[in-house]
């Protein structure tokens, strides 16, 4: 009998020890998560505080920079939208993005279907080539592309970006779409073709609806790439009215030595938050798309 009691007591002791260890590791996980989040988002937090500060508060090196020593103000956000070219940059980024995404899908969807489904001997190497094209950086091409843009008479025009950005988005988005297509069973369109649809008919009626979540992910991805691009936009375009957000904010909102710090930081936050929000929502889908794209289907 005594033995049983000790084992029960032992079991209790063990349980407590495990519970304690468990609590310990829980606290560790939370601490690590909060620390990582702070390190990542710290500069944005700092931007947010800055954006809402009065000049007198901001430009006093003895003030605690992390708190509002004087009341917060929205003046600089209003200034950003009313007295700077920021709305123009925003509008340019938006319509360039929409056009680039459209071109990307028009070119990328058929290409992805061809490489993922219409099994040709060259499909595999082509897919890899596509990936390498994505790795060719703008820094290697901007000089010759600038000459081409000049030759086409598109210099200093936002249209130059509509023409050139798909060279970045088509390869990477086709790669993503190949991944999503591999996630759709072949039987579905084969069944549709047995039922009398042509290859194209089966594609349009059965595959496209199933691919829709993937297409949405590609739209988000292509738009983000477009909004982030910097070198081409800087090399092709100099007039303020034709600039996009990524070049307009750092070049136009800094006039010589005069920095509109609060407005600069406000524009940063206004752009950063929505993009990160949408990206977080689609993260799982991006990961599965890229992973599937690398798998032999």
């Amino acid at each position: 009998m005594a033995e049983v009691v000790t084992t029960e007591a032992d079991a209790e002791q063990l349980r407590r020890r495990y519970a304690r260890r468990h609590r310990f590791s829980r606290v560790g996980v939370y601490l690590a998560a909060v620390l990582a989040a702070l390190l990542a988002a710290g500069p944005f937090l700092w931007s947010t505080i800055t954006a809402l500060k009065l000049n007198g508060d901001l430009y006093d090196a003895t003030n605690n920079p992390f708190v509002f020593n004087e009341p917060a103000t929205l003046d600089h956000v209003v200034f950003l939208f009313q007295d700077t070219a920021f709305p123009t940059f925003l509008w340019n980024t938006l319509w360039v993005g929409v056009l680039v995404v459209t071109i990307t899908l028009l070119f990328g969807l058929p290409a992805a279907y061809s490489l993922a489904r219409l099994d040709r001997p060259w499909s595999g190497p082509m897919g890899i080539a596509l990936f390498f094209v994505y790795l060719v950086p703008p820094t290697l091409l901007f000089l010759s592309l600038t000459r081409i843009v000049v030759a086409l008479g598109l210099q200093d025009s936002t249209w130059s970006l509509v023409l050139i950005y798909p060279t970045i988005t088509i390869p990477i988005c086709t790669w993503l779409l190949i991944g999503f297509l591999k996630g759709i069973p072949k039987d579905i369109e084969e069944q549709a073709m047995v039922d009398g649809y042509s290859r194209v008919g089966a594609l349009v009626r059965t595959i496209l609806p199933l691919l829709f979540p993937g297409i949405v992910a590609v739209i988000v991805f292509a738009f983000t790439i477009t909004a982030s691009e910097f070198i081409y936009a800087l090399a092709f375009i100099s007039p303020s009215s034709e600039k996009v957000v990524s070049t307009g904010v750092p070049t136009e909102l800094i006039r010589g030595d005069v920095f509109f710090w609060q407005s600069l930081q406000a524009s940063n936050i206004i752009i950063a938050l929505p993009i990160a929000l949408v990206f977080t929502m689609f993260l799982g889908r991006f990961v599965s798309g890229f992973t599937m794209g690398a798998v032999k289907g």
Partner: protein, 312 residues
């Protein structure tokens, strides 16, 4: 025969037979579908690529864009300028240090993201911010964070009594390099973490559980099971980190403009300074060409790593 007639009625009655011919020929369709993208990429990536190499051996300037063969003149001009060698060295230093830090921190971050905890969504959102925000804009945040007078980092150091005046982060060569590396690491760690996370999730759960049943502790499982299994993925994360670091010029351009006195100049920013701002297209092209060997090596290594993943 009976089977054939049984299939017939299932076809849409309106389906015209001639239309089926083109729309069903897979071999032709495969080409037709691929052709537009193929032409686009050849015209605006392939041609410019060849052109970029051609420019390096020419005398093209922004003012006189006519192409004349000039042999190695542009390279000679580039090599004679000590800033070129400085840029090459800086590019290598920044890339190697960033790559090591990106992989280390990316692996740690991936493990955090793998753990189960409340509020994971918001943490993930905050962690992704540095990567999803346009580089030029997030660097503006850092520009203000590292301001010569109002840097909050300096303020904290002053409060702690570790600093009398200011650090002048971007005004001193070594600190400016540290700042550039810090921004690169900060913005690319989330990408590395996501790549490693994808690899961690792909490890079959039973392998880890088997090791656990056999009595392997956390560190043992980490070093003898998880890391060997995810090594190819970690390699991919490292190479992506490297590529995005050494081909980027936005961070240097916004943060330091290559300064103070070219001490943070990298190949990409120097090529831009010569080729676009200086108008010497040929020299800019000659400088940019030096990115290519690095790029090729990274691309081949990525391919090998991906092949190894497929073998497993």
């Amino acid at each position: 025969m009976e089977q054939a007639t049984a299939v017939q009625p299932a076809r849409p009655a309106t389906g015209a037979p001639p239309r089926r011919r083109l729309a069903d020929r897979d071999g032709l369709l495969a080409w037709l579908f691929l052709l537009p993208s193929f032409v686009y990429v050849i015209a605006l990536v392939g041609v410019p690529f060849v052109l970029a190499i051609g420019f390096a051996f020419s005398d093209v300037t922004a003012g006189d864009p006519s192409f004349d063969w000039a042999g190695l003149d542009a390279f000679r001009r580039a090599f004679d300028d000590p800033v070129f060698w400085q840029s090459l060295r800086n590019t290598l230093v920044i890339t190697v240090i960033s790559m090591v830090l990106i992989v280390l921190l990316g692996k740690i971050l991936a493990n955090i993201l793998l753990a189960d905890f409340r509020g994971k969504w918001i943490v993930r959102f905050l962690i992704l911010l540095p990567w999803t925000t346009p580089v030029a804009l997030s660097t503006v945040s850092w520009l203000w964070l590292l301001d010569s007078i109002f840097s909050p980092i300096d303020w904290v150091l002053r409060q702690l009594g570790l600093l009398e005046a200011n650090m002048y982060w971007l005004g001193r060569p070594t600190l400016a390099m540290v700042s550039v590396i810090a921004v690169h690491v900060w913005r690319l760690v989330p990408l590395a973490a996501v790549i490693v996370l994808a690899g961690l999730i792909a490890i079959p759960k039973d392998i880890d559980e088997a090791a656990r049943v056999d009595g392997a502790g956390f560190w043992r499982r980490m070093f003898e099971v998880t890391i060997p299994l995810t090594l190819p993925v970690i390699a991919v994360a490292a190479l992506f980190g490297a590529i995005f670091t050494f081909t980027d010029m936005a961070v240097v351009y916004v943060l330091t403009r290559g300064g103070p006195t070219n001490s943070t100049q990298v190949l990409a920013s120097w090529a831009f300074a010569r080729g676009i701002e200086g108008g010497d297209v040929a020299q800019g092209a000659a400088i940019a060409i030096f990115l290519f060997p690095l790029l090729l090596a990274a691309a081949i290594l990525i391919l090998q790593a991906v092949r190894r993943m497929q073998v497993m």
